[in-house]
């Protein structure tokens, strides 16, 4: 048992923190909070991190990484989240670095690796996760978008929904149906699609949090066969393992939110008594800190398992489940502690903490849904983790 980072990891973390503290500006945090995605300042930071090989330090050296253990990426993700930088979907990391890249690395052709991995690691490109459809959410194997072979291409037609990142990412990490005559999950393939390809239309959907997500329509979109990832009809299995990689979450952002709530407690009095002396407030915030510590250890365990080369399944789902629900616990506790003060929006008269809790509340419902719902996480934990029989 050892809960400490190694000396090398600590040195890396401290160099990274020094660098980020110098580089992260108000503009970058504002872009993170804008709901519009990565803007020019964020892209610049991506590229600067990439130039230092710190964006994807766990990638092999030949593909732009440092060939370091998975823990290093966990450190980067945590420190970025904590500083509210490059944090479009809070806590879930980047689609390119954390999902598309690792899958291409494991299953993609040499050509695909050479085309995409160095650019992902350099911070030049981002992906959008092309999974959900109107009739295929948690039951993803029911996806209907069709990819039909035509010479050296696939022709793709259909519709995707809740496509966060797709309005600013360059590529779509798309799963589409390539065979209709086999059991559902055996007829799905994975593609990398340039989102500028003719026939793709992107329409915004605005979340209650103010964050933009999208519908993406494919109308006879021609995708060269070399952009098929791995083997045809094996996409379902790549999604399953990529979901495991996606579930390496970070709670750096949540820690920063809790620190701001603590700041408020320290600097606010009610009925003549400092909130910090109110036993109810003390109990509520302590409970949140306790949950943060629990989830931090669940997450560290996932990073450690990945480091050992074990694909986490139940463990990753535990961390994702806990993190998603923690958003709501923090929203409730923070708002309960702040009372009326918590309701005031950013830029309004008398906004506290810059209107943080008002917007945090609006963003707190999605994390237990996106990236795999809490219910799916519990199914996975029950079946894979505890060996209970399939329903």
């Amino acid at each position: 048992m050892n809960f400490d980072l190694t000396e090398d990891e600590k040195r890396f973390q401290s160099e990274l923190c020094d660098f980020l503290d110098g580089e992260i500006t108000r503009e970058i945090a504002e872009e993170s909070d804008s709901g519009l995605g990565l803007g020019p300042y964020s892209w610049e930071l991506m590229r600067k991190l990439g130039a230092k090989r710190w964006l994807a330090p766990s990638y092999p050296v030949e593909y732009g990484g440092l060939g370091l253990s998975r823990i290093y990426r966990y450190i980067v993700q945590r420190e970025l989240d904590y500083r509210n930088a490059l944090a479009f979907i809070k806590c879930l990391g980047l689609i390119g670095v954390d999902i598309a890249g690792p899958t291409i690395l494991r299953h993609g052709s040499k050509e695909l690796k050479e085309e995409f991995l160095p650019r992902i690691a350099a911070g030049e490109i981002e992906f959008a996760l092309g999974y959900s459809e109107p009739d295929a959410g948690s039951d993803l194997s029911r996806l209907r978008i069709r990819a039909v072979e035509d010479g050296d291409s696939y022709i793709i037609t259909g519709q995707k929904i809740y496509q966060s990142h797709s309005h600013f990412a360059q590529y779509h990490w798309l799963v589409a149906r390539t065979d209709v005559d086999v059991p559902r999950h055996k007829g799905i393939s994975m593609f990398v699609v340039d989102l500028k390809t003719p026939g793709i239309t992107i329409e915004p959907l605005w979340e209650m949090s103010g964050i933009r997500t999208n519908q993406v329509f494919y109308e006879e979109v021609r995708v060269p066969k070399k952009y098929l990832v791995g083997e045809k009809n094996r996409g379902w299995y790549y999604v399953a393992s990529a979901l495991d990689l996606e579930r390496t979450v970070s709670v750096g952002y949540l820690e920063s939110v809790v620190e701001k709530i603590i700041d408020y407690i320290k600097n606010t009095s009610r009925n003549g008594t400092p909130l910090g002396n109110n036993p109810i407030v003390r109990q509520r915030i302590a409970d949140i800190i306790i949950e943060i510590h629990v989830v931090r250890n669940l997450i560290r365990r996932v990073a450690w398992l990945q480091d050992k080369g074990i694909v986490p399944n139940s463990e990753a789902s535990q961390a994702k489940l806990f993190t998603g629900e923690l958003f709501q616990h923090i929203a409730q506790a923070g708002l309960d502690i702040m009372g009326l003060d918590g309701l005031v929006r950013k830029d309004s008269k008398r906004a506290m903490l810059g209107g943080l809790m008002e917007s945090f509340f609006r963003s707190s419902f999605l994390p237990s849904i996106g990236g795999g719902t809490s219910e799916i996480m519990r199914n996975i934990i029950a079946v894979r983790g505890l060996g209970l029989p399939l329903q």
């Binding site: 809960f3 365990r301 535990q318 209970l388």
Partner: protein
């Protein structure tokens, strides 16, 4: 980071599992609930032979030089089998107090006997109407010549009736700083003026009220220094809290295993109930509760073993396992249905102990308050840790 046990720790775990499986069936637990002594001497002596009673003592005192993670590994197994023994009182409360006293003569006199299973110790810390903590130690010990006289009442003293000695934190000076003026005494249980009365509890864990009536203790029986006993007490409390947590997760893991196995073999509506999502999701919640508890306890034990400050981690661990274990038992009972509430079923042995353990060594509110203190909520000038 490393989230596995060492080979030696795995060996401790396997040995303990095998021994307890054979020697500690649930019949023995039931028998001990009604037994006057509450533990079986033969069983205790076998534990001594296995080296468990001296596990964390240095070799020079008959111990095995183990660390606190080794201890947690062992305690988890003891918790799993609900071993009815005065282990925490003797080894952690008694052993650690004496070990941290700096008193060579006392260490050489007591520790080897504890390791051999020849002495039972316990700690009399809780007082009526007080939480445990420096401010909760008010039982006065007044000095007269080379003697001290203790007067007052301690409660929830485990196994006081069979203990050879009680370690008793007392108040010898009253100042604004509560941690100043605490003195620890090693009190012979047979000392005149000391009276033990059983308190029958939910978990049948042999708790006693101990009344001191002008109970005379020689100044030589002070553990550590007069007025300076809080540091020792505090470190013992931390150790005992982690130890209690380890017993609790051991029990919680067994509850989860019993529940999963029942959910797989119990058929209703022509299918195992474990195939229903309603049951599965309860089970998944149990696993998350359990794993979260384990990792936090290992973190606290790891910090203890490294000699790092662990006040924060210990309280986080206890506050979480307190709540997690209750949820695990509630889910376990619900899934076991009617069978689980029958006395012959083991479920109720665990759920009664889970509830009692929630309040030993600090309840959830107390540990949340300690966490809040670490955040320095009443001090805007200082950044607390999170």
């Amino acid at each position: 980071m490393e989230f596995t046990f060492s080979d030696e720790q795995k060996l401790i775990k396997d040995t303990a599992r095998e021994f307890l499986e054979n020697e500690c069936p649930s019949d023995l637990i039931r028998e001990m609930e009604d037994d006057e002594k509450g533990y079986c001497l033969k069983f205790w002596q076998k534990m001594a032979e296995l080296g468990w009673l001296g596990l964390i003592f240095p070799a020079e005192y008959g111990g095995l030089d183990g660390n606190f993670i080794d201890m947690v590994v062992l305690l988890e197994e003891m918790g799993r089998f609900l071993a009815p023994v005065p282990f925490i009182p003797t080894v952690i409360c008694g052993g650690l107090s004496i070990l941290s006293s700096g008193d060579e003569a006392l260490k050489s006199e007591i520790l080897p006997k504890v390791a051999k299973g020849e002495l039972i110790l316990t700690m009399a810390i809780s007082e009526p109407e007080h939480d445990i903590g420096a401010g909760g130690i008010n039982l006065p010990a007044s000095e007269q010549g080379s003697q001290f006289f203790l007067s007052g009442t301690k409660i929830f003293v485990p196994y006081a009736h069979v203990a050879d000695y009680l370690i008793c934190p007392t108040r010898t000076k009253r100042t604004y700083e509560k941690s100043d003026g605490v003195t620890l005494f090693l009190v012979d249980r047979a000392a005149p003026g000391l009276c033990c009365t059983e308190m029958k509890t939910l978990d049948c864990s042999k708790q006693y009220e101990v009344v001191f009536n002008q109970c005379q203790v020689a100044g030589a029986k002070v553990i550590g220094e007069v007025d300076k006993g809080w540091e020792i007490t505090r470190s013992v409390l931390e150790g005992a809290t982690v130890a209690q947590c380890a017993l609790m997760v051991g029990g919680a893991e067994k509850v989860l295993e019993m529940t999963i196995s029942y959910a797989k073999k119990r058929f209703q509506f022509d299918r195992p109930i474990g195939s229903f999502q309603a049951i599965q999701h309860r089970c998944s919640n149990m696993l998350v509760d359990l794993d979260g508890a384990k990792l936090n306890i290992y973190e606290a034990a790891w910090k203890l073993s490294q000699g790092l400050d662990c006040t924060f981690e210990v309280s986080i661990a206890k506050a979480w396992v307190n709540q997690a274990y209750q949820r695990i038992c509630a889910n376990g009972h619900q899934i076991h249905g009617g069978a689980g509430v029958i006395q012959d079923h083991d479920m109720q042995l665990y759920s009664r102990r889970a509830k009692a353990a929630e309040y030993y060594w600090g309840d959830t509110n107390l540990h949340r308050e300690i966490v809040a203190q670490q955040l320095e909520l009443d001090n805007p000038a200082r950044a607390g840790r999170i």
